[in-house]
Amino acid sequence: MLSVLRKSKRNQYIRRLLLSLLVFLVATAQSVPWLPLVFGAAALPLLPLVVCIAVLEQEVPAILFGALAGLCWDAASPDPRGWHALYLTVVAFVCAALMRYILNRNIWTVTLLSSAAAFVYLLLRWLLDAFSGGTGLEPSSAVVFYLPRFAYTMVLLAPCYALVRGIVRKTARKRIDARISETGGIGQIRS
């Protein structure tokens, strides 16, 4: 029984280690030109990745992964004050809370939340560029520059979801719980 519990804990550590590595890799792929430009647009895969983790993980780790992803983004950003970390932490918290209290866990929910996260981020960037850069609100830059980035980011949602889901499934506690039930032990351990 004890060994089964240990295995469950070990799986949890492996899952979080793998997710951390995934966050580091995706952050690097986003800032180093690993992903090809499509019609001149670069992708922002950290946004859907954070949403996928928040949807499929528990709340506390989801918030920490959101902060980690944002800090990695900030470390390679021309304005390293931590705005991305703040934004992604809020996104992770909101998504995790919505999943706990309101929404169901499925691909449509992830798509909806990712689109909202990417849309709000790009809208904020456009407004920030417009006001802090003193360039004014130019709808053409929103259409020509930000819309293709939004579309490209959303295309990367599917691989992000598949990767995170794969990691979470491989290291899920369900099988361990089933094993505990089979051996007649504490079956309600999941809570």
């Binding site: 580091f24 952050a27 690097t28 792929a29 986003q30 800032s31 180093v32 030109p33 690993w34 670069a42 992708a43 922002l44 709340e59 506390v60 918030i63 920490l64 902060a67 980690l68 944002g70 800090l71 990695c72 900030d74 470390a75 390679a76 950003s77 021309p78 304005d79 390293p80 004050r81 931590g82 705005w83 970390a85 703040l86 932490t89 809020v90 918290f93 995790a96 809370a97 706990r100 981020y121 790009l122 960037r125 560029d129 802090s132 850069g133 003193g134 360039t135 130019e138 053409s140 830059s141 020509v144 520059f145 930000y146 980035r149």
Partner: protein, 275 residues
């Protein structure tokens, strides 16, 4: 709601947000320094990015070699082996030549201005959501880089250091509307300042506004930094005038510039740490 705010998740969220907001606040107060939390993560991420950037560049060179090789192979089928050896040498030669050109330009600048202190740096990342081509370099405060240091490639001005962490720094290019440079036209000596808009920046162009309608500046004129500015030394090349337009609203003329630095092919640059 009360129960919600007492959950572990909410408390964790509040603690993380407090830490990040404190970091951002400190960064804002210190003007240009990175948030301490971001700096700490930067210590881990910057070396990883340097390695990944090298791998990415290596792959790009590798595939460009095979693309070129395939074209030449069709033309010279019988000399395949000879050709491959030649291509390998050519790739090495091109790399060395590019590096040599960079250092020649640097040497020329150093000879003209012996008091200038430079730090060679490589680009390790960019901002995919940025409109103005900002990027991250693998040199930080440990190497003597500080905020507002000019960034050059040869004698061409690329931009200015906007923020510094211990091992990396973030650069805003001259295509960023936040960056203004006091410049002069070499032939006429007329002084102005550069600015840009998102529309111009997307075309890779700058402008010099508020010139007199009687300005003698014309297409092809060379634009350099003026000694009247404080952030840049004099005579760095900013760009070439493409055209001069009349601005009907302000009754002045606007010169449109093409920057001398090619931002798309940048890999290695120099940071001017002292001048």
């Amino acid at each position: 709601m009360k129960r919600f705010t007492k959950t572990v998740a909410f408390k964790t969220f509040a603690a993380v947000m407090a830490m990040l907001v404190a970091g951002a606040g400190l960064s804002l107060v210190s003007r240009g320094k990175a948030s301490p939390v971001v700096s700490a993560v930067g210590w881990i991420v910057s070396p990883l990015q340097t390695v990944c950037s090298s791998v990415a560049n290596g792959f790009a060179d590798f595939f460009s070699f095979f693309r070129s090789s395939a074209v030449l192979q069709a033309e010279l089928n019988k000399k395949e082996a000879e050709l491959n050896a030649y291509r390998e040498r050519l790739v090495d030669y091109d790399k060395t030549r590019q590096k040599l050109e960079l250092y020649e330009q640097f040497l020329e600048l150093k000879k003209e201005n012996p008091q200038h202190q430079f730090e060679e740096a490589s680009i390790i990342g960019g901002d995919p959501a940025g409109q103005f081509g900002g990027f991250t370099l693998n040199r930080g405060s440990v190497s003597g880089v500080s905020v507002n240091d000019p960034v050059l490639v040869g004698k061409n001005l690329v931009g200015i250091v906007a923020a510094v962490t211990a091992t990396s720094c973030q650069v805003k290019t001259i295509l960023n509307p936040d960056v203004h440079v006091i410049v002069y036209e070499t032939a006429t000596g007329e002084i102005g300042y550069t600015e840009t808009t998102p529309a111009l920046a997307q075309q890779g162009l700058l402008s010099i506004p508020e010139l007199l309608r009687s300005s003698a500046i014309s297409g092809g004129g060379q634009i350099c930094t003026s000694s009247e500015g404080t952030f840049y030394p004099a005579d760095l090349i900013v760009g070439t005038v493409q055209e001069v337009r009349m601005d009907d609203q302000s009754l002045s003329a606007v010169a449109i510039l093409k920057p001398a630095a090619n931002f798309e092919s940048l890999r290695d640059v120099f940071v001017l740490t002292s001048f």
